[in-house]
Point group: C2
Chain length 227, copies 2
């Protein structure tokens, strides 16, 4: 039976954004599990680390992007069974950081419920890598920050937080169109940060071509213009 499961964040795209600890763990485990959302579809997390784990035993775990919770539970339980059947230490890789909107969190919960020793290896998150790509800080001093998936409640918080991150949507334009007084805000858009096809833009709402950012691996960083 499995002794320990590492939840390893592999960062955002650039394979050099892996931590030394993540690399050490991937080298030492008996198997690396790779979550995929569809059979035959490439795993982004695997693409990031594949050069480091060439001789490693790798197995896919299928977590389809469906809403039906009962159906999803079947997939999680299948994954759990596969993991429990391993010997010694194994790793499950995930893009970004395993604690922030990660598919890993579902299987993490199940592993804990089953008394399995889980250790999280943090990874660089897209929220930080995107601020770097835009060459701006997320927050300074005593500023407040919030993350709103799909721009949920954006109109409510737009003037209360110094920085707002909108992520987890393919349609940033729609998510941000709720903003009134659009000229009062500077918006940074980043798509597929640190990948070869990374795209970055910064400006006011009407100056931006949102069409280039219709990708699930996109996010927006919104800041009020200081007057």
């Amino acid at each position: 039976m499995v002794e320990k499961v590492y939840g390893v964040g592999v960062g955002v795209g650039d394979e050099k954004l892996l931590t030394l600890k993540a690399l050490e763990v991937l080298k030492k485990v008996n198997k690396v599990f790779v979550p995929i959302s569809k059979k035959g579809k490439k795993s982004i997390a695997y693409e990031i680390v594949k050069d480091y784990i060439k001789d490693k035993d790798v197995e896919e775990l299928l977590f389809p992007m469906i809403k039906d919770k009962e159906k999803l539970k079947e997939y999680w339980n299948d994954a759990l069974k596969k993991i429990l059947n391993e010997d010694g230490e194994v790793a499950i890789i995930t893009i970004g950081d395993p604690t922030l909107y990660s598919t890993f969190s579902y299987i993490w919960k199940l592993l804990k419920e089953n008394g399995i020793n889980v250790e999280i290896i943090n990874g660089i998150s897209s929220i930080f890598a995107s601020a770097s790509a835009l060459n701006i800080p997320l927050v300074e001093g005593d500023e407040k920050l919030c993350i709103l998936p799909q721009g949920k409640d954006l109109e409510k918080y737009i003037d209360e937080f110094d920085t707002i991150i909108v992520m987890k949507t393919k349609n940033l334009k729609e998510a941000l169109s709720k903003i009134k007084n659009k000229d009062d805000y500077i918006i940074g858009l980043v798509k597929r940060v640190t990948f070869d096809d990374e795209k970055v833009a910064i400006g006011k709402f009407d100056e931006l071509n949102f069409d280039e950012f219709n990708d699930y691996l996109s996010l927006a960083i919104i800041k009020k213009v200081k007057k």
Copy 2:
């Protein structure tokens, strides 16, 4: 004159949480600048990376923790002068990630204003490392998250966000005491995450001994109990 300045996040304490890229940059630059808050006081960022940069030319930059903005500007301008006087590429190290409440952001702004090429090398932030230490996710699915320095406006947002992080204070108890209906929330406290003297606790407000967490490198992660 200096050609390029790297703002390098060195993570939270464990030297293995450095990224491969950060290590590569620290090895190649001509000089590593180390921010300190007081003359003679050890730099935490330097302590994290010192074994990697034994033969490196290292220079301190003094950024005292004072409120007087005019006085602070003098220190920043002194630091800027030192950096501009270097040749080739240099690095400035900072704990955590350089985009989140970093001392680096002040000098970053000055460097940009002076037309200097700046590249940010992201680091593991305490917000992620603390969630790992607590063995809980920060946010899942479509949950909303906010970061409130010193617990600013905590009473306003406590029931609107799924997860609230309070940081940048030595007195978490005072910052969190504003919460009404304290039994409705699970609070995770983490001090000096991944350091040898790391401390972790999780529970309801009245179950926690806040005295053990009176440290600037502490934070609280607050979640509503799901009923």
